[in-house]
């Protein structure tokens, strides 16, 4: 149980996917312009990462490991995740149109997201059990959601700021992201 707690705490704060592992930076900068879209993206990532952590665990231990094909895990994971997301998208469209309306446009965007693939690969690397893998996928996606929502708030404030001309647009965004990452590095000193 304490093991699970450590995984969740680590994935959300100390080893935050965006601020300390630097996975999923493209959606972090791309769709953080409004808090509402940031939350939508975060929910979609949470959904996909949880399901894909379970699916890639099965693919690795049931299919790749018995045949000694561990070295092909990256390609196999991309294939499994892409097909799975497509399947979920169709399923939601039919049976949960309101959820599809909220997540729909973000789902195809994250089929080949590095954060999703990263979670699957880290799980294998750390030799986690099934439950631990799913918990890690879900909690690191929650960390991602938190980071992107916090940053969307920062960006909303920055709309009204007046930076020097050379820093306008992306440069000032990257500086703000760097400051946020530095704040999060404060968590890395926490040990249990």
């Amino acid at each position: 149980m304490s093991n699970i707690f450590l995984i969740v705490f680590g994935a959300v704060l100390t080893e935050n996917f965006i601020f300390s592992r630097f996975y999923g930076i493209c959606p972090f900068l791309g769709v953080s312009d409004k808090p509402s879209t940031a939350l939508g993206m975060g929910m979609a990532v949470t959904f996909v990462m949880t399901v894909s952590s379970a699916a890639t665990y099965c693919a690795y231990y049931l299919l790749l490991k018995p045949f000694g094909l561990e070295y092909l895990k990256t390609i196999a994971f991309i294939l499994v995740i892409a097909a799975l997301v497509q399947f979920i998208e169709m399923f939601l469209k039919k049976y949960a149109p309101s959820l599809y309306g909220a997540l729909g446009i973000y789902l195809p965007l994250i089929t080949t997201n590095c954060a999703v693939l990263g979670a699957a690969l880290v799980n294998i690397q750390e030799q986690r059990s099934f439950i631990e893998s799913v918990m890690f996928g879900a909690s690191s996606a929650l960390g991602f959601t938190m980071a992107i929502c916090v940053f969307a708030g920062v960006r909303a404030k920055m709309e009204f700021s007046n930076p020097p001309k050379a820093f306008r647009g992306f440069p000032i965004l990257l500086i703000a992201a760097a400051l946020a990452a530095m704040a999060f590095s404060g968590f890395s000193g926490m040990k249990f």
Binding site: A59, L79, N162
Partner: protein, 267 residues
């Protein structure tokens, strides 16, 4: 041989399983969508500007099919798109005129006096809260470009202290109208020839004291117009475009260059 064959077979197996799964899912979870919505979507401009009041072009297409929106609801596409959409829906097109935005102020830097130096948040609504902006005129363009920031087509730029709309780029969506705290951006017909660039409701003496380009309500334009299209209404000249013939007599007579030809905007 086994080292090569095994991965190929496994991946072939994985690929076939996934392909079959998706093929079955596509049939099983197929959602019947109104064909017309997709055809309307392909006619719409695809800018997703939100000027129609719906969340993007596909939401508008759905609303048109459901009968909630008019076939001419897309101001950006104008008549061309309206005709195509009307054809798909089998409905007649009501008259729609292409509009464009115009900032009704000519108080550029140096012409309009300022009452203080503003160095706050770069947003017109914020400046408006501080005594109505830095210009002495309470009706003049603040010039911080909130309209320009929200224009989905990049048609507005701030030049010498006031926002100006590029008529070629403007699609008449009307988003800027809502973002102007002074309410001095108006939609006027695209092919209109003249506009009166002052919105001041103050009397002539007051306007003369703070702006070189403001309307002083002298009513010379009213007398010059044969169609009765231009009227001084509450302190500033306004053109009724349904009556204006575009002759330009008012612009020739205006002593303060308030009435401007759209073709030769002079500052």
């Amino acid at each position: 041989m086994k080292e090569i064959l095994a991965p190929i077979l496994i991946f072939l197996f994985l690929g076939i399983i996934m392909g079959a799964l998706l093929a079955v899912a596509a049939k099983l979870f197929h959602v019947k969508k109104d064909e017309r919505a997709e055809r309307i979507l392909s006619c719409l401009p695809g800018a997703n500007c939100g000027g129609c009041g719906y969340a993007g072009c596909s939401a508008l297409a759905d609303a048109i099919v459901e009968g909630k929106a008019a076939v001419s609801a897309c101001a950006v596409g104008g008549e061309d798109v309206g005709i195509k959409v009307a054809e798909i829906m089998g409905a007649a097109l009501e008259n729609s005129v292409r509009m464009r935005a115009q900032v009704m102020c000519g108080g550029i830097d140096g012409c309009a006096s300022k009452k203080y130096a503003y160095s706050g948040t770069n947003d017109c609504a914020a400046a408006e809260k501080l005594g109505g902006g830095d210009k002495t005129c309470a009706y003049g363009c603040i010039g911080l470009g909130s309209c320009a920031a929200h224009c989905p087509f990049g048609a507005i730029s701030v030049r010498s202290g006031i926002a100006s709309v590029d008529p070629e780029k403007c699609r008449g969506c009307g988003i800027c109208v809502n973002y102007c705290p002074k309410g001095i951006i108006k939609l006027i017909p695209f092919d209109s020839s003249y506009y009166a660039r002052c919105s001041s409701k103050d009397g002539g003496k007051a306007v003369r004291s703070y702006c070189e380009k403001g309307c002083v309500s002298c009513r010379i334009c009213e007398k010059a117009c044969r169609n009765g299209a231009i009227k001084v209404i509450s302190g500033a000249a306004e053109i009724d475009y349904s009556l204006c013939s575009g002759c330009g007599k008012c612009a020739d007579k205006c002593p303060r260059d308030v009435i401007q030809s759209i073709r030769e905007m002079k500052f």
